[in-house]
């Protein structure tokens, strides 16, 4: 026995391992929903799908009220809101300056960005499930109100819808990473298709490039019956330009940027 009594509890040894990517993704998913703004964005996305399906019940011919007819139209407005989710998940860290805390806990910024991308992709996939659920509810309602309510679904639509929504949310995230500013990223993202169509309408020389670069044109076949090889090619080119380039350039910018 030593003469010295036990000292005050010494400061504990730290854990040697860092947080796994799964843990970080879980944290980022939580961040999507733990503020009032975030929660309302998610609720709005669900509501928009529900409203569209409700409208369908009233406006679409009874005989055409199939599961597919309820499923597809709701994907477009949801696909418009998902990029906003992608943008906010990235830019929120900078506009609210929480990057200071986030990067203090995870100084390898690329891990944070990867976790954020994983979180918004999961959210996009979940939105497809919500669309399916809402379409199913619509089909049941259609049966009850005298519509056809047929349970027909073109099964290829499911992976296509997933690609559609994941591409949308990642494009938003890419714009957010590149611009690191919420209003700038949202306005730029939403204006882009409009600018394309205006320019393509005015300038003849832009019409052919627009077929390859305007994502609102290249992504549309995803939600119609069948995709041709040419359509996949054009989709790939447009996504390389509007998804891959902003993501990579944005990642470089985020890794280098000074946090203050």
């Amino acid at each position: 026995m030593t003469a010295v009594t036990a000292p005050a509890p010494a400061l504990r040894r730290p854990a040697a391992t860092g947080p796994s990517l799964a843990r970080l993704t879980g944290v980022e998913l939580r961040k999507l929903a733990d503020t009032r703004a975030g929660r309302w964005l998610l609720i709005t996305i669900g509501l928009v799908a529900a409203v569209i399906v409700t409208v369908q019940i009233f406006v679409v011919e009874d005989a055409e009220q199939t599961f597919t007819a309820f499923f597809t139209p709701a994907l477009f407005p949801v696909g418009l809101l998902l990029p906003v989710l992608g943008i906010l998940s990235i830019t929120g860290e900078w506009s609210q300056r929480t990057a200071l805390t986030t990067f203090a806990l995870v100084p390898r910024r690329e891990r944070v960005v990867t976790a954020k991308l994983a979180a918004v992709v999961l959210a996009a996939l979940a939105s497809v499930l919500v669309s399916l659920a809402v379409a199913a509810a619509g089909t049941l309602a259609s049966r009850a109100t005298g519509g056809a309510g047929a349970w027909t679904l073109d099964w290829h639509l499911l992976p296509y819808a997933a690609v559609f929504q994941v591409a949308n949310v990642l494009m938003g995230a890419g714009f957010g990473l590149l611009l690191l500013n919420t209003p700038l990223a949202i306005v730029t993202y939403l204006l882009l298709p409009t600018v394309w169509s205006i320019l393509a309408a005015m300038i003849r020389a832009l019409r052919e490039p627009a077929r390859w670069l305007d994502t609102s044109v290249t992504m549309e076949p995803l939600l119609s019956p069948g995709m041709t090889a040419g359509e996949w090619g054009r989709l790939g080119v447009s996504l390389a330009v509007w998804l891959l380039v902003p993501l990579v350039a944005g990642l470089v910018r985020t890794l280098r940027r000074e946090v203050s």
Partner: protein
């Protein structure tokens, strides 16, 4: 343990931090002092990997910050109490950090309690917090992973006198249990009560550093005479560098004995003669950083 080697940060032609080096040992509180714009925050951000230095480097617990696998468990960082999402509750902000670090959920309530944020405060959104409450939340966040090192940028800002007293006790206790603390301030009085060591920075450079007692001892002699004017002339004649203090006396960069001898030779009646102590350090702080803060005002 924090080690800073020749840290330099340039923004274009402007040098914010130039060749700053110091060490913070376990069991000590180091006060990082300087006027606003002296480079304190930039230096701390470089230590924490938020800003890439132009030259030099820093290690915490033996490694560069960015190479620490789970820094929250080794270093508690509070760089800016206002940098919290206004829409999250205080509890949620801590919960996110606890999940990231892999800290038990019970620690969130424990640390909130430790910094004096009660149940009601924890449920409120951070946007509704006062600056003092944000500082307490930031401190809870820094302490959440039970680290051995604390890096705090102006943690006393916005705290009331009771809060400042409480924080001193907390930091002192942390250091006494073997922890390392680096805290910055632009107020000497604020840190001298708790710091063991001081690093004084002005215009991006370290202008003085050392043990607090050592710096206080080297702060000169305070002298006061019935005839202040004659005293001034006597000091000048004896070649003793003197500056007028804030309250009428002179702070002389010399030993009390030399000052007393000069006064006796001139036949002056002294009313006060003692080591300048903290008053002298303040004087030193002011003179050392005066040029820098003037530059800051103009910039």
């Amino acid at each position: 343990m924090i080690e800073v080697h020749h840290l330099t940060k340039r923004y274009g032609p402007h040098t914010a931090v130039e060749d700053v080096s110091f060490r913070c040992e376990p069991g000590t509180v180091t006060g990082f002092l300087g006027p606003n714009g002296a480079g304190k925050s930039t230096t701390m951000r470089m230590i924490c990997g938020m800003t890439t230095p132009s030259a030099g480097g820093a290690t915490v617990a033996g490694r560069p910050y960015r190479e620490l696998p789970n820094p929250g468990r080794e270093i508690g960082v509070l760089l800016d109490a206002s940098a919290q999402h206004a829409g999250r509750t205080g509890r949620e902000a801590l919960t996110l950090a606890a999940r990231t670090m892999g800290v038990a959920r019970g620690q969130v309530a424990t640390k909130l309690d430790l910094v004096g944020l009660n149940e009601t405060a924890a449920r409120r959104r951070v946007g509704a917090y006062s600056l003092g409450m944000r500082q307490r939340l930031g401190l809870a966040l820094a302490l959440l992973g039970d680290p051995r090192v604390l890096i705090l940028d102006e943690p006393a800002n916005g705290l009331d006198p009771e809060g400042i007293f409480w924080m001193r006790g907390l930091l002192r206790d942390f250091a006494d249990r073997g922890g390392t603390v680096l805290l910055s301030s632009h107020l000497l009085r604020e840190v001298e009560a708790v710091a063991d060591r001081l690093v004084v920075i002005g215009g991006g450079r370290v202008v003085a550093q050392g043990g607090k007692d050592e710096l206080l001892a080297g702060a000169g002699t305070l002298v006061r005479a019935r005839d202040q004017h004659a005293l001034r002339l006597t000091l000048d004649r004896a070649g003793l560098p003197a500056t007028a203090g804030t309250d009428g006396g002179y702070v002389v960069r010399a030993e009390p004995e030399a000052v007393g001898q000069a006064a006796a030779d001139a036949g002056l009646v002294l009313t006060e003669l003692r080591p300048a102590g903290s008053g002298g350090l303040e004087q030193l702080f002011l003179t050392l950083t005066a040029g820098a803060s003037t530059k800051e005002a103009v910039r």
